[in-house]
């Protein structure tokens, strides 16, 4: 067995998986609190990439370069996407809060299609070249085989983001309120938690993560278009379900498992069947553990 090749694939899988995880967190947090699958989440990711593209373009013209551009583009993208996430919830989901569960789901699909077409019309349906914002670090040269500089930045940023998210959920006031709302929305309201604000915060946090993922992956693949949110969204949603939807560590684990499974499948068998491995794994895990890897089976109260 060729361990070097295996290790190369594993590294690739972890990078891919951590991007999936970053997007999956947005799905899982929203689901955890209002049991809604926010199908427009992939589009928020795409909008993040587009905003970063525009900011990076302007800044590159003004003579800045490298990591400064990346940082500022990411910050603007994050703010923009957060605003989109917040507005999306206000317009598309809040009026349907007490409607049957299918209604907000349809609304989510509608929002997804709307945003994709909006960007297509307002910007362009073509592919756009995204600048390579991560410079090549010299110290990465010896291990470039396994991790490129862009991969390293992705790993660092995702790890930091996830750590920050954990701290936020575990130790802050809003985090505590989020956990309370997740447990019981009505009860949380009764004890004086402003549930609407918590839900808005959840959407904002999810959108921030999606925007970060959008900027990272766009600067790695070097291109964006209005449809990239769809594929990313489907994969991240799969990762969220795999890990147990509604469960935050589950989304991270699900993303990593999915990324590694796809990479190993493509590396050892055939990349033509990459998606087949991803979804076959999903089916298998859901048969064995219907609630996902870390999900807890919900007891139906009668």
């Amino acid at each position: 067995m060729d361990f070097q090749y295996l290790f190369e694939l594993l590294c690739g899988g972890i990078v891919k998986g951590s991007i999936y995880a970053l997007i999956a967190l947005g799905y899982t947090m929203v689901y955890g609190i209002i049991q809604l699958i926010n199908f427009a989440h992939g589009e928020v990711y795409m909008i993040g990439a587009f905003v970063a593209f525009i900011v990076a373009g302007v800044m590159t013209l003004s003579g800045y370069s490298g990591l400064t551009v990346l940082l500022l583009a990411a910050v603007v993208a994050v703010i923009y996407s957060a605003a989109y996430g917040y507005t999306l919830e206000k317009i598309a989901y809040r009026p349907l809060r007490n409607a049957p569960r299918l209604s907000p789901l349809i609304s989510a699909i509608g929002a997804s299609i709307f945003l994709m077409n909006y960007v297509q019309l307002a910007q362009t349906p073509d592919f756009l070249p995204f600048p390579e914002l991560v410079p090549e670090f010299e110290f990465m040269a010896p291990i470039e085989r396994y991790l490129s500089s862009a991969d390293l930045v992705i790993l660092i940023v995702t790890t930091l983001t996830m750590a920050a998210l954990t701290v936020l959920i575990k130790y802050t006031r809003i985090g505590k309120a989020m956990r309370a709302t997740q447990q019981d929305l009505v009860m949380a309201r009764l004890v004086g938690i402003n549930v609407d604000r918590v839900i808005s915060a959840t959407f904002i946090i999810g959108s921030v993560l999606a925007a970060i993922a959008g900027v990272l992956i766009a600067s790695r693949t070097g291109q964006i278009n209005a449809a990239i949110g769809f594929v990313a969204g489907i994969k991240a949603f799969t990762a969220a379900v795999l890990g147990g939807i509604g469960n935050v560590p589950g989304a991270v684990l699900g993303g990593l498992v999915l990324g590694i499974a796809e990479t190993l499948g493509a590396g050892y068998i055939s990349s033509a069947y990459e998606d087949v491995f991803a979804f076959a794994l999903l089916v298998l895990i859901l048969i064995l553990r219907p609630a996902g890897l870390l999900g807890k089976a919900v007891k139906q109260k009668v």
Partner: protein, 372 residues
């Protein structure tokens, strides 16, 4: 007894009566068959225009060997069942040589009828490979490259010019990309000069192709042939550059455009792509386009150049052969070099026009340059 003789006599008379006008006709009957109505008319009408222009010019100069050229224009709507009807009609009306048909399906249906009647057909647009390469239809010629030609060119370029030994082939699983990849793979394996170490489809639109790139390095490939379009190609190139994998990259004409150059940016540098030969600078081509514009007030449509060439080649063959005898025409088409809108052409043993079709281009300083 008497009755039978009479019937025989009458029949003989009838046959002679039918045959005589055809034999005695002092025109050269040039059939033009293709879609002139229906969904695909846009592919057929430019050919009709081209034939009309060439014939008008030749007739104005007194025709060929003293005979005027008469056009017999028939519409097959690119439908095989109509193509057989119009082919039968052309044959029964004594056509000498046919320009057409336009679509490969219709051509396939009609070509057998011409073969039985020993009539030559030259298509400006039917690209289905077996039409010529199966060797089944000796009466079929075309002035356009076959579908597999660019893959064959890419394969030959990889093994002969770039001397690659271990070739990786990737495709996007679509008809266009996989078709190109399949033909290239078959050609490389048949050539025996290099090994195909990897042959795989990739998921179009996926976020990441690292695994497949890692595999490419692991297999020790020294060249990559990719069948597909520019978004996937530039994504592959970008990731290959990040992983410092520098192997020559050859793509089909789907890459040879500004879209690829724009998206791939500096990653595009050095990439090879096959693409149609540029014929727009040929003097005859420029003149034909100018004449067309003067007459119709717009640019000519699809396959116009090829149709001009087919008509000119057909009539040149009639001139060289000194008539419309099948064997003499065949000889003339295969030996007599004729200057056309797509360059100086003659036909090879199987009926494909030599020197027509594709070239290899390489990106140099942000632009595609023909590799000589």
């Amino acid at each position: 007894m008497q009755k039978t003789t009479l019937v025989k006599f009458l029949a003989a008379l009838l046959v002679t009566a039918l045959a005589v006008p055809a034999l005695a006709a002092d025109t050269i009957k040039l059939g033009v068959a293709g879609a002139h109505s229906g969904d695909l008319a846009a592919y057929g009408l430019p050919t009709k225009d081209a034939a009309e222009m060439v014939v008008a010019e030749i007739n104005a100069k007194g025709g060929i060997n003293g005979k005027k050229v008469e056009l017999m224009i028939v519409d097959d709507q690119c439908k095989p069942e109509i193509a057989t009807n119009v082919a039968t009609k052309l044959v029964s009306e004594g056509v000498n040589i046919v320009i057409g048909h336009i679509c490969s399906g219709a051509t396939k249906a009609a070509i057998g009828i011409y073969k039985g009647a020993k009539i030559i057909a030259i298509s400006p647009s039917a690209t289905n490979p077996p039409l010529t390469k199966s060797g089944e239809y000796a009466n079929f010629y075309r002035t356009i490259a076959a579908d597999d030609d660019q893959a064959l060119l890419a394969a030959a370029f990889a093994t002969d010019t770039l001397k690659a030994k271990k070739i990786a082939i990737l495709h996007d699983k679509g008809d266009y990309g996989k078709g190109f990849a399949d033909f290239a793979k078959a050609a490389i394996e048949q050539g025996g000069k290099a090994k195909v170490v990897m042959y795989e489809g990739i998921q179009p639109g996926a976020m990441d192709y690292s695994a497949v790139i890692q595999k490419l390095r692991n297999e020790g490939a020294d060249l990559l042939i990719f069948g597909g379009y520019h978004p996937e190609a530039s994504k592959l190139l970008s990731l290959m550059n990040k992983k410092k994998i520098k192997v020559p990259f050859i793509g089909p004409d789907g890459l040879k455009g500004d879209g690829f150059l724009k998206i791939a940016g500096k990653d595009a540098e050095g990439v090879y792509a096959t693409g149609p030969k540029d014929v727009s600078k040929l003097p005859l081509n420029t003149k034909a386009h100018a004449d067309y514009k003067a007459k119709y007030g717009k640019e000519p449509g699809t396959f116009f150049d090829q149709a001009m060439a087919a008509t000119v080649a057909a009539l040149n063959a009639v001139k060289v052969a000194g008539g419309t005898d099948y064997d003499a025409l065949t000889r003339a088409l295969k030996t007599s070099l004729v200057d056309t809108t797509i360059g100086k052409i003659k036909f090879d043993a199987k009926g494909d026009a030599e020197g027509v079709g594709f070239s290899v281009y390489q990106v140099k300083n942000g632009a595609f340059v023909e590799v000589k």
